[in-house]
Symmetry: C2
Subunit: 428 residues, 2 copies
């Protein structure tokens, strides 16, 4: 029996080296992209600015402009060389960008160059942009981001799904991204496993959350609900997902929004990407009281955050439905079947039913992601930056309690209004 | 962006030729397998016995024993060279056999040799076995087949699912079978598309079924239900499926059952394989009155067939649950999460809920497959062998009417008893 060639098989890692400023300068000097920087290499200023969990990120400024260079490290940066990590994630990041670029317009950075030997990407420098999460912690508002992200998820998912693709094209895309084992493993373990068992990788605000964490590890109904979402994550191959679409994967200005860091890209349930962004808006909502000052109680910011969650879902919903109604080139609900007015009424009801399922998935995945960011390995600055542990724990308890309730009582949340009611009660 | 190597890439089709008896004899003479035949090549008797839609099948008898050789043709045999078909299906058939062989015991033929250039497989000759469908048409009974097939589906699916495999192993298996485009295209079109639109590939007993076929093409609720099952087929990647598990893919003696022809193998919903076999038992049920004689009204055979459908599902259910309870090495519902008695009660409830979903999928896919075998391209001998068109149409109408009702009113069929009631009413 022949084996499928691994995606990685046509490159070796012999030529890989961790970039330093001189090495990066030499690389850029060899590329056509150097015209974007202008001048000569000695004019260029290189800064390493990475603050994520996995990579080196350099900003390079020249007389004519700047570029950003992201390089995969052979280990999880946040854990150090003791947690090795395949470099191939840079390949999948680039593959995701290439796949969605025709559909999402300027919602992703422009890619200038991908180097398969160095596992690095030279891309547009988003000057003036900051990480959305940092802006939300600072209490800032971005009037376009919810709508931009709702449209982004709708477009990226619709155009990579069976609604838009032939079964052959979708299977070929699935084959490519199904090689992204290593980062899928991280999601499987850190989202759907670790927070619900004792693990050295877990941490939480202690001792304040000790008893709640123990209670949740012993909550059979919660664990079954999370395992069901994990199963869905591993089996429901609806669309190409970003795979890690939290507020740290979005860069913003008041006018612009860009999605970055799609190295977790895989085929999966659309609700997983929706839930990542939605859940991180809720985490920010719960963290706001922790950032309150005598000048700003953050209540208006909480209200604004809730409106963004609503706007995000509603924009996704209307955009996805619009694409589906306008285009039926894929093999799902294929266009040859519908001709009469009655057909279109039934089809519209089916679309609405489908999106009700997507809504339920969004809430379930959002809840899983909220829990893992408080009890698991990778935490969020929204809470981490609250210095007083008691105050932090209070905020975190609200988020955990809501997430647990959403997972164990999904039928109580058929709509955003139901969630709003629960959120208001929990937040009090 | 690199592209994934096609599975086919490491063989060319330059060396392919359609086997004839001399060519086949020469091939076998070059293989170690020749000892199974005994004697010298001039002693061997070669017969071409293929009666399926897609392949050549030879039986070769020698002084010491026999082998069966199956070769893919570069076109759909039932349609002729005007409908070309990739030879790669032989590769996927062999890959399926290899993958499930460790788990399903003697339920598949023993494979002696696979020739990647000729796209042919030399395998155990099932002497004394006949195609189950032929036996059922003749009114014969096979006391083990329902149990054998229920166990087969449970084992083949469980051991290739996320319940048994790590996410990495499952993704790698998915990558391999996601290259099986050509046969997946056939399923997508012939099961979920053509029967519900005008297509040159369709045929039905005419004029008797003309109005019902037209009515079903205009039934919006039915088309939406079928499209939903098609979407599930294309997105719900639960386990490795045989992909075409009807009663023509099972060979039987009164003591033995073997599953053959897995060239449609793909990752998909478990209910698809269950529904294929279950639906074909129901087709046989509906066809029985067409084969009634003055000596045998076939009512007892119908009752026996219904009992086989029950036995098939019940065996699948108990076997799958047993495997899941005994083994939790996969990433779905991972073993590290469950320790208390309360955990196991909740987990058992989750398992039952999961299998309720599988049951609903089985009925939905069974109904799709029943319809396509009466209104679509590929028909079944159960009906085709009823010479009187009026009588045949009467049997077919019963099957179509039940299948349509199952698809448009799924909630009326939570159990086999509910189906039994409907079946009895329809059959009258």
């Amino acid at each position: 029996m022949r084996t499928v060639a691994r995606v990685a098989a046509d490159t070796t890692q012999r030529d890989y080296k961790i970039l330093d400023p001189p090495g990066l300068t030499a690389l850029l000097a060899s590329l056509a992209t150097r015209v974007r920087l202008g001048g000569v290499p000695s004019d260029w200023r290189v800064r390493e600015v990475g603050d994520g969990n996995l990579n080196l990120v350099f900003l390079v400024d020249g007389p004519a402009g700047s570029v950003c260079v992201k390089q995969a490290l052979p280990y999880v940066r946040a854990a150090g060389p003791s947690w090795p990590m395949t470099l191939e994630r840079a390949f999948f990041e680039n593959a995701y960008y290439s796949t969605v670029a025709p559909h999402v317009g300027a919602r992703i950075p422009e890619i200038f160059h991908y180097d398969p030997a160095l596992y690095c990407t030279v891309m547009e420098c988003l000057s003036g942009h900051i990480i959305l999460r940092q802006g939300l912690i600072a209490g800032r508002r971005y009037p376009h981001v919810a709508r931009d992200l709702g449209e982004f998820v709708a477009r990226a998912c619709f155009w990579t799904s069976s609604f838009a693709l032939s079964c052959e094209a979708k299977m070929e895309a699935e084959r490519l991204f199904a090689a992204n084992h290593a980062l899928t493993r991280i999601s499987v373990d850190l989202i759907f496993g670790d927070p619900y068992r004792l693990s050295e990788r877990n941490r939480h605000t202690s001792p304040q959350l000790d008893s709640l964490a123990a209670e949740m590890r012993a909550d059979s109904a919660l664990k079954v609900a999370v395992a069901r979402m994990g199963m869905k994550f591993m089996t429901q191959s609806e669309a190409l997902l970003h795979g890690d679409l939290h507020s740290g994967s979005v860069m913003v200005t008041p006018e612009d929004s860009r999605v970055i860091d799609p190295e977790f890209a895989l085929y999966g349930p659309i609700g997983f990407d929706l839930g990542a962004f939605f859940g991180n808006l809720l985490l920010s909502w719960f963290a706001q009281p922790g950032h309150a000052t005598s000048q700003d109680d953050r209540i208006a910011q909480q209200e604004w955050l809730w409106q963004q969650a609503v706007e995000f879902w509603n924009t996704f919903h209307v955009t996805f439905l619009g694409l589906w109604s306008a285009s039926c080139e894929g093999d799902a609900y294929p266009k040859g079947l519908w001709s009469t007015a009655q057909d279109f009424v039934a089809l519209q009801a089916a679309r609405n039913a489908y999106l009700e399922g997507t809504f339920a998935d969004m809430l379930g995945f959002a809840a899983c992601k909220m829990i893992r960011r408080i009890l698991g390995f990778a935490h969020v600055q929204d809470f981490e930056s609250i210095p007083d542990p008691a105050r932090r724990a209070h905020c975190e308890t609200g988020a955990l309690t809501l997430a647990r309730h959403v997972l164990t009582h999904p039928r109580q949340f058929p709509s955003l209004n139901a969630l709003r009611d629960a959120l208001t009660r929990r937040g009090e």
